[in-house]
């Protein structure tokens, strides 16, 4: 950014009947301005029809992810000064997801894949059973604790090239969720999870490129979770043949 510039050159993706195109806006520069501030300014001052999604504004809800200068980012926690390139900012809807309008994507395929990966809790007890004691220092619990910091923002899903090339691929977030449940002592669906992530489009479609780990705003490593699933599915592959 040049010190004399008073406005940012912002290109925002706008959908139309034929797909869409970038629209240019001049947005006043402010101190500690985030990308979400920029989008909100445009919507409030230039074009009230601009569609985008946000909720908490503090990096907890995972609603406001967008492509910023070609990379998926959580816009509420992304400072303009950190990502600006020659006073220009390009803001587009998240990659790998259908667009509803402008910057708002349809998250259905993302969450459908969570369910397909068996990223849902499989209860093992009734309300009459005693509460299971969990050792917080156990290897399994430590693995699960890392993964459950995911805020479901879909940034890893947008960053993943395997998702782009393989339509059925469950993606990093869903598989990371499956891995946390696999390591949860209270979850009774271990084999169900392994079966789900071993199906076509499961963890074996991952090429360990690491874009998910690089892009994750919470600094999680879904690639490592997926590697864990690959190890466990390989073990189960041999164990089943023995039994």
């Amino acid at each position: 950014m040049t010190s004399t510039a008073k406005t940012l050159d912002v290109s925002v993706w706008r959908s139309n009947d034929t797909g869409g195109a970038f629209q240019a806006f001049a947005v006043p520069i402010q101190e500690s301005q985030t990308i979400l501030d920029v989008v909100a300014w445009i919507q409030q001052n230039e074009d009230p029809t601009l569609a985008y999604r946000f909720a908490c504004r503090v990096g907890m809800c995972g609603s406001c992810a967008m492509m910023v200068n070609g990379k998926p980012r959580w816009t509420c926690r992304t400072h303009v000064q950190k990502v600006i390139s020659g006073n220009k900012i390009e803001i587009a809807p998240l990659r790998n997801l259908p667009v509803i309008k402008d910057l708002a994507t349809d998250m259905d395929p993302f969450f459908d894949k969570w369910v397909k990966a068996e990223g849902v809790f499989h209860p093992s007890k009734t309300r009459d059973d005693a509460i299971e004691q969990i050792d917080p220092t156990s290897h399994e619990r430590t693995e699960a604790d890392i993964g459950i910091e995911c805020i479901n923002c879909s940034i890893c899903y947008a960053a993943c090239d395997a998702v782009s090339t393989t339509e059925d691929y469950l993606g990093p977030a869903a598989l990371n969720r499956a891995w946390t449940l696999f390591n949860d002592a209270k979850d009774s669906g271990k084999q169900t999870i392994l079966d789900a992530v071993s199906a076509n489009g499961g963890c074996h479609s991952c090429h360990s490129m690491g874009s998910c780990a690089e892009a994750c705003p919470n600094e999680l490593n879904p690639m490592a979770s997926i590697a864990g699933l690959k190890r466990e599915t390989a073990k189960a592959f041999f164990a089943r043949r023995k039994s």
């Binding site: 395997a162 090339t165 071993s198 199906a199 076509n200 499961g202 074996h204 599915t233 390989a234 592959f237």
Partner: protein, 110 residues
């Protein structure tokens, strides 16, 4: 065939190949000492069941490993799907296997 089976077949074939590659390189370094001749190579391999087994195993592992790898690339980059993808993988496997087996036979048969 499921992704898991292909994944396992590719990893297992890689495990098989790893020591064979090292053995192949070691023999190459040994064999070129003092010049290389067809006669010297054939003298070592012709009629040798051990070398036939060594390179025969190598050919099978390579054919499996490469066919699965190229299948993935054909799917992801070229967009091949369904039976076209299966046929592609089998053709790669068969071409590599037949060519490799032919070569192994040529240098080990007496």
């Amino acid at each position: 065939m499921t992704d898991l089976w292909l994944y396992m077949a590719q990893r297992i074939s890689a495990l098989v190949m790893a020591p064979l590659v090292l053995g192949h390189i070691a023999v190459m370094i040994y064999a070129i000492q003092g010049g290389l001749s067809a006669g010297e190579i054939l003298g070592r391999t012709q009629g040798s069941f051990g070398w036939a087994l060594f390179y025969g195993t190598f050919v099978v592992a390579v054919s499996i490993h490469a066919a699965i790898g190229l299948r993935t690339i054909a799917f992801e980059v070229l967009g091949l799907k369904g039976s076209a993808l299966t046929v592609f993988a089998w053709v790669v496997f068969l071409v590599l296997f037949v060519m490799g087996a032919q070569a192994v036979y040529a240098v080990t048969a007496t």
